[in-house]
Amino acid sequence: MKITVQTETFDLNAEVAALHRNNPSVGAVASFLGTVRNESGQVSAMALEHYPGMTEKALSAIVQEAQTRWAVIDATVIHRIGPLAPCEPIVLVAVACAHRGDAFAACEFIMDFLKTRAPFWKKETTADGGQWVDARDSDETATQRWRKPCH
């Protein structure tokens, strides 16, 4: 498992290759790349703040939970912090499994929990100054659907 919080960007090829490591049991790598959106055309920059220490713990716990639910061979989570320009990569989650069903589910699970449980905060810079991004209800809804049914 690789969990990294860093200011610099990352290389998708290198990360997927490091995750796969020519392991012949791996048949499926699902990955998610999140990038800075600027739909309004108003965002000149974004800054990511986080809670050092808790971030890494929270991400590790999320990946470990995914590993108990699906047959995950290995997983990588990289989240950037600091200033970012529109279109720049923010986050990479990549999961290697034998089969695609496990890889897709684990990757989406990790992203959904990262969005609501990992202590990162986005602040957008526009001509009007800085504005903290509001949490979206849809992210909490996405997280809730992974709840296991009661027995």
Binding site: M54, L114, K115, R117, A118, P119, W121, K122, W132
Partner: protein
């Protein structure tokens, strides 16, 4: 007991503080700590009002109002997260 309080993101900016050491009589819960902070009045009362949407972590794990606090605990207050 002494608590290490941390504030992040919008809360850090609005409250105008990023960290402090806070002394509180034991035993106490997160709810007790919040009552003491609200008693500072002004933005403290409005930002930490029960109906406001904020989160509390104790020793880097998500906590709730009934979480018990111990001497030396690191307590962080922050808005709902928005990474990813």
């Amino acid at each position: 007991m002494n608590l290490k309080l941390l504030y992040f993101a919008r809360l850090r900016e609005t409250l105008g503080i990023s960290r402090e050491v806070f002394t509180l009589d034991a035993p106490a819960t997160v709810a007790d700590l919040l009552d003491h902070l609200r008693a500072r009045c002004g933005v403290w009362t409005t930002e930490l009002a029960v109906e406001r949407n904020f989160r509390v972590a104790v020793n880097q794990e998500m906590a709730n109002a009934s979480t018990a606090l111990n001497d030396g605990d690191e307590v962080a207050l922050f808005p709902p997260v928005t990474g990813g």
